[in-house]
Assembly symmetry: C4
Homo-oligomer: 241 residues x 4
Amino acid sequence: MAQSVPAVDPALLDDLVAANRILYGKNIVDGLGHVSVRHDKNPNLYVLAAERAPGLVTREDLAIYDLDSNAQTLRERRPYNERFIHGEIYRMRPDVHSVVHCHTPSLVTFCVCKCDLRPLYHMSGFLGRGVSRFEIRECAGMTDMLVSSPPLGVALAKSLGDKQIVLMRGHGATMAGQSVKHAVYRAIYAALNASMQMDAMRMGEVTYLSDEEAMKGMEINDRFIDRSWALWKHEAMGPKQ
Amino acid sequence: MAQSVPAVDPALLDDLVAANRILYGKNIVDGLGHVSVRHDKNPNLYVLAAERAPGLVTREDLAIYDLDSNAQTLRERRPYNERFIHGEIYRMRPDVHSVVHCHTPSLVTFCVCKCDLRPLYHMSGFLGRGVSRFEIRECAGMTDMLVSSPPLGVALAKSLGDKQIVLMRGHGATMAGQSVKHAVYRAIYAALNASMQMDAMRMGEVTYLSDEEAMKGMEINDRFIDRSWALWKHEAMGPKQ
Amino acid sequence: MAQSVPAVDPALLDDLVAANRILYGKNIVDGLGHVSVRHDKNPNLYVLAAERAPGLVTREDLAIYDLDSNAQTLRERRPYNERFIHGEIYRMRPDVHSVVHCHTPSLVTFCVCKCDLRPLYHMSGFLGRGVSRFEIRECAGMTDMLVSSPPLGVALAKSLGDKQIVLMRGHGATMAGQSVKHAVYRAIYAALNASMQMDAMRMGEVTYLSDEEAMKGMEINDRFIDRSWALWKHEAMGPKQ
Amino acid sequence: MAQSVPAVDPALLDDLVAANRILYGKNIVDGLGHVSVRHDKNPNLYVLAAERAPGLVTREDLAIYDLDSNAQTLRERRPYNERFIHGEIYRMRPDVHSVVHCHTPSLVTFCVCKCDLRPLYHMSGFLGRGVSRFEIRECAGMTDMLVSSPPLGVALAKSLGDKQIVLMRGHGATMAGQSVKHAVYRAIYAALNASMQMDAMRMGEVTYLSDEEAMKGMEINDRFIDRSWALWKHEAMGPKQ
């Protein structure tokens, strides 16, 4: 109920609106796709827009959900069908504070092929921790491909496991991060790595980052996200925001 | 005659203008290409711009045609040479209420090759109903490739059959939909699927949607078009329209 | 001398400025490249900007040259080094009234490979008349690749022959047209055809337009250039011009 | 110390700000990457922005460093971790007056593959002097890939040798030039050449520039950079700057 829901840090809401706009501006999401953040005061709640294209989301569209993905606020609005992706990952992964779900073309291409998505450079070192795959046929047979129920959300979260990203066959991808900035960063650089890797694989043998390079690359880049974020937010929201 | 033509729902005209601008903004059409809608009060009429680049079309450019593709209004303007594509599809397919014709690069590429265009993900599930092909040589020999006469329009409509899309060799593609929004959606996602499929095919074996997944994906996405449409219209026409 | 040079039709100058901006907006030229038009009152003169990036060219930058490519006006400005491309084609080809020279990436790719550039669809039917190749080594050995002298201009014009386009190895391409609009159109659609053809060739056997289809396609499209031109000019110069 | 640092030519600072914005606008750098210029009055100093995304850099962000990459001004700001790239190249290469470091996708692709980056056309003739490669494993084993210490900067500068560009495995590229304009030009055309070369290599045998053509092409294009620069600066900084 709304009265029991603590107020979210306004800076976090601003970041979530910016994340929606950034992901759209970078062609990570189109009319569909979504990004959420775990509530900063109650880990059993998360913030996600009601059903709307990410490129149009404002603070007024942001609703609060519990981990069963029941809306605690903004109940008069229709929620995203696939909100269970977010709720079930937050339930299974206490370290995750933000989730992005998207249908980015370069990632969809990897979703339907057997090639592994692997880190080409330090910017996508997070891929070195491994990239999970989710085959919805294994848990639900022939479906409309959407993760639109709690059991499907659980199955997806299990597929993600302890990784940062899961490729969903015939659908798209889902990324997890320790903050909105990290989840957005991973979506952008996973897509860019996928695009470069397709080119590289056509040129012969490819030298990927070693596991150690990937881990160290991820650690250093995770500390410099603010530099990129300042640019992205400036572009998506204008100089004043 | 103009006096016998009932007024078209203004919201439909607005959608048709937006469709022209959206298709241009998404690089589905360039200076050429067109989109039409069946008249909401008389199924034997349809609305299509007089000859003009889609990116410049306004409500003042919209004319009404009968199914023989004779202009009922705006007769002082030159009509599109290929308006028969629209008229003959509306005549043969009562379920179709909007038609897009385009020369989108990723689709032209499939038009001149033998690979089947197949659905990679739920967003293009409509491709699972099959993609027709039109070879103008079969009905008319060596031509300028344009569907610029009633018999050619009939031949194209027959090629389309009960499908949602027909690839026209050496020319482009034509999509049909139950509404302007659906036809525009199909044009956008057919082109995107074609582009991704070219990448995927270079990476080895591809897992396409099964027929059942495609059908279910189409059904669910057909119900969520308004989410994308709101974004597209906002971008193409500005926040006020 | 300036006093003997008749005034050029202002509409032609406007079109030439627009052509510069359109070619830049469409990524056909970058900081380099140029477009000219034959003088409408004296076929032994042509109009070409003094040295400046096409994207910045205004009417004040337009100079008049004779067919030896000596400036007749605006002599205080430095001319393009490669103006001889224009002068020598105008001398050898009375049917040509406009010339575009560019380094467009998709065309440069064909320039350095052995694959023929062939028409995939009616929009590029003009390629069916054949695409010439210019190998500067054959007439001048090891050079800086530029057509920066009258003899090199003559050699290039001879390579073009009676075609509409010549691919220059290690350099770029030059297109000829019966008007500014036609030359610009050919540059845009040659580049687009090149890009699509690269994709198509990777997908197996390609069905190109037959010679007759190409010729008929060219004839019909040459008559509809105004539709595209209105759009391109609107975009490049704003709604008022 | 600040009092011993001579003032930099304001035009040079303007160019450096423009270079940051141009490189961002051309997708050579993203949130990361940087560009520097050697001090015009003291060759043992150079100018580089403090830590900030290049697309946001203003004159207020520009700091002065000595060749050990210690900040001489703006010490309250955090410097780029990889400033040693700049300092050590300036120390080893007196002819170099500007350095660009970037993670451009088409160049990263070449970095992780074994194909040589070679000049396809005169615009990238500078590649004919050779393209170095830097494998950080050879001097430092498994790292986070960053050139974030003086010894790594020395190793990179040694890899660059007397070339204009070095490809850094799993990381990006670094370009050197005799001026800011030349370094920016090389970054832009190295990336464009890489992209075209990937396409060309898929089409069969490629004719690259000969060494002599490349050298002559570089010489002529080095003299015409102002034409492109005027366009780039206009686009990046607006018509007034």
